[in-house]
Each structure stands twice: as C-alpha cells, then as structure tokens.
Symmetry: C2
Subunit: 347 residues, 2 copies
C-alpha cells in the first residue's frame, strides 16, 4: 500500500486545491462530489486512509475532514500542480510599471510592493551584495571631520554605496581627490571582484619607492573593499500586514515570531540565498527551511538576473495554504521583468 496510484494522486490534488481555496478540512463527502469520478464517499475514505498512512494528509481530530501535511503540499507543488496562465491584461500593466521606473533602488522597492499587492501576501526581495560581477564605475572620497573619510562607491548599474572609514591620519581634500582619480583611472569598468583581487596583489607590490598617492588610494580602497564588517545583503519586505488576513496565522504569538523574523532578516536571507543558487522558482514549504518561525508559511522565490548574472532573489511569503497556481507564475514573471528592467538600465 506504499504505492501512489493515479487515482489517489488525483484525489490528493483535488483535496489540496479545495483546502487551499477555503481553509476547511475536506471530508469524504465533499471530495466525492467535487471530483468528477463517480465514487461513493466510502471509497474515498479508503483512499484517504491510504494517503494518511503515506503521510500525505492528516485529520486534525477524529471527526474532521483531511488536510494536507507538509509532505502532501510538497508532492502537490512538485508533481500535481497545474499553474494558471497569467492574465494578459495584468501582465501588460505590470510590464509598464517596470518600464517607467528608472532608479534601481526605487525599482527594487516598487517590485516588492507590487509583489505584495498583487498576491496579497508579503513580498520580499533581496539584493545580493555579491557584487563581484557588477562593473565598478567610480569612487569618490570626501573628507569629513576628524580622520573620517566618506567613501562613495558607484557601480555601473547606478547603485551607490556609502561607507565611512576611519583613517590613520587626516587627509587634505587635494590628496583625496588625487587618490580617487588614480583609482578611477586604474580600475573604472573593472568588475568589483577583480578589483578586490587586484588590490591584494597591488598591496604586495607596495614598496617604499611607490608613489605616495597610489599608496593612499590603495590603502583607503583596501579598507572599503576588504572590510569584513560590512552589512550583508539588502532585504526589502513589504505588505507584511497582508498576512494578518489568514486565520491560520491568527495566533498573535505566531504572527509576532513572523514579524520578528522580518526584522531580524537573517533566516529569510539564508532561505533566499538557497534559492539563488538554483535557477527558476523554488518553493519552501513550512518548516522545511528549519526555521521555527516559518512553521505555517511557505516561501515562493526566484532569482533574478541583470545582464545574465544572478544578482538577487525575490518572492513572496505567506501561509502554506496559498494559491500556488497563481503565485508561482507571478513570481516567475516578476523575476523576469525585473531582470529585464535592470539589464536595460545598465546600458
């Protein structure tokens, strides 16, 4: 009885769909009606017993219908799900949003909002700081009070990063400009990863006779590029409050854990990181992720690219009982559109 017959599969599919639709445990009678097959409730019950034995469904108590287990969801999304085609009209509107936005930072936030609004779930989007591939455009040094120097790093895709570093001595504005010039002339256009590598070798070559200007430039840049203390990846979350609509998250304590997760971000980042390596839409169901707070939640995520390179991940987070058939293609198209928008911006 450890074999999953086509009929059992079909019934599981109907059951999951039904449960996703109205959140109530599904009984044998309902199932018998909703499925096209001419089977009596009793037969259904037998099949359900099998499914339960296989760990795909369970009943919350003796006399309730069945609900899918995590494994059940897994099987459902992996092999049973039929994704809905997207509404053409909506896609068109959606594309428009992406075409009109120009500022990359803003584009990221807009995307997150769109995700949450369209799906009525919480939208998440991560911008990877693994910027090894992104071209380096310009570096500026601005002297602040004391021995602090503000470093402004502009990448070729228009992203700007600011960092304040503490120098060993005070530098004159002229020195800083010179150093920046040297740096920009030497490395402009080079991918950031390559810059880092070059810095290391350059440093080894730093000798007494090297021009002071270059020494300064390399010293400051080293602090910027190699400083390990830097912040991790960027994460934007929006529409968290959409999650409050779902009764299964109604328990305030659960909700609170979830919100704290959003604030601390660490767990989510790790999850998104996983999905970044694999292409295409990836789905994490319930506690598969190993994070307690995400117990009753699923994450649907997809990496997005800019000019062929994966630069981040986006997706939504919602209760395990979410309309996957709509969410999945939606996340997919969003990743593609964002990738397209970012790529066209870069040139």
């Amino acid at each position: 009885m450890t074999e999953l017959t086509p009929r059992a599969e079909f019934l599981l599919k109907i059951l999951v769909e039904r449960y996703i639709a109205d959140g109530q445990p599904v009984g044998s009678r309902t199932l018998a009606k909703k499925t096209g097959l001419a089977l009596s409730p009793a037969t259904i019950r037998n099949v359900m017993a099998d499914l339960e034995e296989m760990g795909l469904v369970r009943s919350p108590h003796t006399s309730a219908g069945r609900i899918p287990t995590q494994l059940g969801y897994r099987v459902f999304v992996d092999s049973l799900l039929t994704v809905q085609p997207l509404d053409v009209e909506q896609v068109r509107k959606f594309e428009h949003e992406f075409r009109t936005e120009e500022d990359p930072q803003h584009l990221i936030e807009t995307t997150s909002h769109l995700l949450s609004e369209m799906t009525q779930l919480a939208g998440i989007i991560m911008v990877s700081r693994r910027e090894s591939q992104v071209g380096f455009h310009q570096l500026e040094f601005v002297g602040l009070s004391g021995q602090r120097v503000l470093v402004i790093l502009v990448t070729q895709d228009g992203q700007v990063q600011n960092r304040i570093i503490h120098a060993e001595r005070r530098y004159s504005p002229a020195e800083l400009v010179q150093a920046a010039n040297y740096f920009n002339e030497t490395y402009s256009g080079t991918p950031l990863g390559a810059v880092k590598r070059a810095l290391v070798t350059d440093m080894q070559r730093v000798t007494e006779d090297m021009h002071r200007m270059m020494q300064l430039a390399i010293e400051i840049a080293r602090r910027v590029f190699l400083d390990e203390k830097r912040e991790g990846d960027d994460l934007v979350v929006s529409g968290e409050s959409n999650l409050m609509e779902f009764p299964e998250l109604g328990d305030i304590q659960k909700l609170r854990k979830l919100f704290d997760t959003f604030t601390s971000k660490r767990d989510l980042l790790h999850l998104l990181d996983l999905s970044m390596r694999a292409g295409g839409v990836k789905i994490f169901i319930g506690s598969e992720s190993g994070y307690e707070a995400l117990e009753d939640c699923s994450v649907v995520a997809a990496p997005y690219t800019a000019d062929g390179e994966v630069v981040g991940t986006l997706g939504v987070i919602g209760p395990t009982r979410m309309p996957y058939e709509h969410v999945i293609p939606f996340v997919d198209i969003t990743a593609k559109l964002l990738g397209g928008a970012l790529s066209s911006l870069g040139r």
Copy 2:
C-alpha cells in the same frame, strides 16, 4: 459638581496608575485599599460618579470598575503624572551606545532600536529633510547610461543623498566634473536653504554670455534642489511587533490598521511634524491625532537637535495604557543624547 477637587484628582491619579499597571478596570474597593486615605468604598463610589460625569473615567459595563477615558489620560499626563527618575546605571550604558556609533545613518537606526527595546514599544524616529539649516559640503555628478545623471549630495554632517535626474542631452564626464567643481567652489559650506535661494537668483542672471559650464551646473543643481517630487522625510520604525503583546491591540483588524499605518507612514509623519515645532516631550493620546488607526495608541515624541537646530523627531508608539512615567523621561533623554551625538559628529 464641575470642579475637580484635590481628592478627586488624587483618586484619578491612583486609578490611572493602577489601570496602566494591570489593564483591569479598577473597582471602588481596590481603589479604597490602594489609596492611603482612610475612605470607604462607598465614598470612592461617589467621587467616581463625579469623575464619570466630568468625562474622565467610564465603566465598560454596568458592573465593572472604572477605566480612564482619553480625557482622563490627558489630565493624568498633563498635571498628575510624577515621572520616575531614570536608572543611573542604564543611562550610563545608554550614553555609551551613542558615543561609539559614528555613521549618522546608522546612529538613527540604532536609536530607533534602542527606543523599542528599552520601552518594549515601537520606536519611531524621523529625520527631517528640512535641511535648510544643514551645511552643504559637496556635490558630485556621475554620468550614467543614456541621458541620466546620478547626483550625489554630501552634507556637512556626513549625510549622503543620491538622486538620478534625466538631462536634456548627454554630458561628457569632463563637463560633469567641471560643473561639479564650479558648484563646490561656489557653494561649499553654505546652508542648503541658502543654496536654493541663490540658485533662483542665479538662474535669473543666466544670459547668453554666461559661461556654458556655469549654465550646466546651475541647470543640473536646479533639478536636484528644486524638484518637488522628492521623497518626504525619512521615518524609521522598529520593534512594531512589541505592540502585539498588548491585549487591547489584540484584535487583528486593529493591529493590521496600525501596521499599515507604519508602512504608509503619512499619518505618523504628520504627527511627528507637530511635535517638532514645540520643544520638549509631547504626548498624543488615542485619537486626539484624528487618525483612526491610532485609536487605542499614544505617541510620546520629542524633537532632537543637532548643533542647536531641530533636525528631527523621535519617540515611541504604544497602547494608550503605557507606563508614561518611565517612557517620558526615557524619550527625553534619548532625544538629548542623540542630539549630542549628532552635534559632536559634525565637528
């Protein structure tokens, strides 16, 4: 009976304190015990009836104790409240946090976290973009693809703003550098407000014979400084999920409204703006603000200064029933410490 006797005042104070402490309606018996006065419950009842008539307390139903009304809270915080002195040890630790942080942006976020952590409420902090008073330090133009130009504005306190503008034509890097140089030489150190005014007069003087370089600089800068579409003030909120602990906000719908308010920010900004004009700690109780979402909440806010100028507002938001006697001095000291930290950074 429209007069508030000292005894009635005293009883109101005890009642509010008691209600804040354990969230239960306070009955005449409890009140008779907790107050030092040797009064019988019956007497208390008479007084309570008076207070009820004056609209300072109400009973949720016939036979429950009394709870303060919004007006009652108002009277309480305005004239009855005795603030608790802060724990010296804690203040010292607190001061340390401020002294070690250097990056202003980071400082803001840290402050918000501190606020929420220490009070177990939601911390809010607004950075006013009314930057008229802040000195202008440096402007950089970086050409991006197409006709877009990235403008980086550095203020004297180390804040950096990025903005992307669309130029009418493509500018060469050399042109941009020249324009920036002109601008930096002309205006560095000038307060931003003054820069704006100067721009307007400069523009009137722009004639055919003016140097092309200056024209360019002024044109770009005009777009940056006078563009009305720019984002409003910055608002950082943290610890929202602390609010979930309070039973009076337990209704998911209410909570959701609140969270949406945090996301949309507009209402909160308006409120904080109010408190910015007046110095010192200001308290908004319940719907005094006129915002439905804040019905059962109070906001305790104080403006903070940098080098003598008000540059923003910080505070906490929590249920009306919050421990004002601790929160108020806490918000106060935080505002002062942040102001001090910002001022010392600027030099």
